[in-house]
C-alpha cells in the first residue's frame, strides 16, 4: 500500500444537512456517504496568515468541515515563574471548543474532563517534538480554538498545531501529521467524518514523517486486534500524504516571505554589518 496511491482530490464534500435517513457508510459502488472513495482524504485548506493579537505564529486548518484555529505565543516570559523549568521551556496548551461548533450546542467549561484530556494529549505529543531545551525558564503558549466539528477533532488539532509552530519559527524535530482511520466490517476507511466516527470503530494516529515513528495513537472504540493492526499501518501511511500537503503550505508561505525580504536592495547608509544573525 504505497503512499502515492492515496489520492487527494478536491471533492466538494456535501453540506452537512443531508437527510437523517439511515445512511450507507460504504455503498456497493465503493463510495462513502460524502462521495469519497475508501482511502480518499477530505479537502485540506490551510491559512497561515496572522491571527489573534500579536501571535508569534498562527494557523487555520480545515479537514472537510472540521475547522481549527491555533495561535502560538512564545517562547516568552512565563506569567508564573513557579511553572517554569530551569533547563527547558514550559509548553502550555489550552483548547477551547466553540459552543456552536457542533450540530448540538454544548458549552464546555474550562474544567471539562474531555477538554483537559485533549490538551494533555497534545501537550505530551508536542513536548518531545519541540526543542524546548533551547529556551530555559521561558514558556510557549499554544491556544487552540475549535470552530467547527465534523469528525477528526484530535487529527485537526495536531496538524494545525504543527503548522502554527512552524509558522512561529519555533524549532521542532519534524512535522507531526495525524489522520483518523476506521473499519467498516472488513473494509478500512481513512479521514472519517462525524457520521462515520459515531458508527465505526476508529483510531487517530500521528506520525513523524522523516523517521516514520508514531507519536500518538488514540482509539476509544471496540476493534479486533488483527483489524487494528491493518488500520494502524494504513493510517501511518496516510499521515505521510497529509505531510506533503502541510509541507507545501509551509513552503509557499516561507517562499513568499523570503521573496519580499530579498526583493529590496541593500540599505545605502553604512555597510551592512551582517544580517540579523538568527
Amino acid at each position: 500500500m504505497s503512499a502515492d496511491r492515496l489520492l487527494l482530490t478536491l471533492s466538494d464534500s456535501s453540506d452537512s444537512s443531508d437527510g437523517h435517513s439511515r445512511i450507507e457508510i460504504l455503498n456497493t459502488g465503493g463510495y462513502r456517504s460524502d462521495g469519497r472513495r475508501q482511502y480518499e482524504l477530505r479537502t485540506i485548506s490551510i491559512d497561515l496568515s496572522p491571527q489573534g493579537s500579536g501571535a508569534d505564529g498562527s494557523a487555520s486548518l480545515t479537514h472537510g468541515l472540521t475547522q481549527v484555529n491555533v495561535c502560538v505565543f512564545g517562547p516568552r516570559e512565563a506569567k508564573m515563574r513557579s511553572q517554569t523549568y530551569h533547563d527547558r521551556a514550559n509548553v502550555n496548551i489550552e483548547v477551547a471548543i466553540a459552543a456552536f461548533s457542533a450540530s448540538e450546542r454544548r458549552k464546555r467549561g474550562r474544567g471539562d474532563k474531555r477538554i483537559l484530556e485533549l490538551s494533555q494529549t497534545l501537550k505530551s505529543t508536542f513536548e518531545p517534538v519541540i526543542q524546548t531545551s533551547l529556551y530555559p525558564r521561558s514558556q510557549i503558549d499554544i491556544y487552540i480554538q475549535v470552530l467547527q466539528q465534523d469528525g477528526g477533532l484530535l487529527q485537526a488539532c495536531v496538524n494545525a498545531t504543527t503548522l502554527a509552530l512552524a509558522n512561529a519559527g519555533i524549532p521542532t524535530y519534524d512535522f507531526v501529521c495525524a489522520v483518523t482511520g476506521g473499519v467498516h466490517s472488513t473494509s478500512p476507511l481513512l479521514d472519517l467524518t462525524l457520521l462515520e466516527e459515531n458508527d465505526l470503530p476508529n483510531v487517530t494516529v500521528a506520525v513523524m514523517p522523516r523517521s516514520g515513528k508514531i507519536t500518538l495513537v488514540s482509539m476509544e472504540t471496540r476493534l479486533h486486534v488483527d483489524r487494528f493492526e491493518e488500520i494502524f499501518r494504513l493510517a501511518g501511511e496516510a499521515g505521510k500524504v497529509i505531510h506533503r500537503e502541510m509541507r507545501k503550505a509551509v513552503k509557499d508561505r516561507t517562499e513568499q516571505l523570503v521573496a519580499s525580504m530579498q526583493s529590496v536592495g541593500r540599505p545605502s547608509t553604512g555597510a551592512d554589518v551582517g544580517d540579523n544573525e538568527y
Binding site: Q120, F126, K213, S218
Partner: protein
Amino acid sequence: MRPPSPSIPEKEFLFSALKQGLRLDGREFFETRPVTLTFGPELGWVECSLGQTRVLAQVDAKMIKPPPERPFEGVISIHSEISPMASSEFELGRPSEEEVTITRMLDKVIRRSDVVDKESLCILAGQRVWHLRLNVHCLSDSGNLLDCACLAGIVALKHFRRPDVEVIGEEVTVHHPTSRAPIPLSLHHNLYCFTFAFFSDTSIHPVLDPNHLEQRLNGGLISIALNAHRELCVVQKSGGVPLEPADVLRIVNVAVQKAKDLDVIVESRLREDWEGRKVEVR
C-alpha cells in the same frame, strides 16, 4: 508546589539498570506486580492491590426514573477523585494529569464500552431503572494507579449483585437478599487495562506496570484496555517519545496475552469468594 523530581543518581541508575535488563523490584520487563484482590463484607466491595499501589472500588445501586431520551436503559455513574491520601502529589484543587487520565479511562472502559448491558438494568421502561454508582478510592500510589483503578472497577462490577425484582403490571416489588438470592449484573465482557512505560532513550526496553520511579521518569505511556477475546477497547499512546510502528504492535500483542492470564486469576478469585459467601447465605 510540584513534587521534586527524582535526583540525578536515581535517574542514571534506573536507566543503566534497565539497559542491563534489571528492574528495581526484580521483575521481568513484561511482568506485572502480584495482583491481590480482597473482597469486602458486602457484595460489590473490592480492594485491589498491585504491589503497593492499592485502590478500593465499591458499587451500589438505587432505582431512579430514567432520563426521557433513553427510557429503556439503566444509568452508570463513576466517581473517582484521587485524594491526597494516595500521595502528596495530588491536591484537591485542579485535577492532576493522572486524575484526568484515570477518570477518562474509567469512563471509556466502563461506561462507553457497554461492558454492562444497560438494557438488563431496566425495571419498568420509562418509570424505573437501576442507577449503578461506582465509587473508586485510591488508597496508595506507588506507580500505575490507572491499571489498578480499572481492575478494581471491573472486579467490583463483577462481584456486585443487585436485589431480585418482580414486576407485575405497574407494581414493582424488591426482594430482600435473604428471601431471594441477589442477581449478578449481566456483563458482556471483562476489560482489563495494561499500561506500558517507555523512556526517552528508546534503546531501553519498554516495561509493563511501571513502579513509582519508572512512572516518574517515563518518556511516555501506552495504555491498552482489552478483553480476553483479543478485542481491543482502548489503545492510548497520548504523545511521549515517538516509537516504531512495529514496537507499538508488539506491545499490543503482549497485552493480549496478559489479558488472558489476568482473566483467569480474576475469575478464580471471584469464584473462590462466592463459594465462601454462599455458605453464609444458607
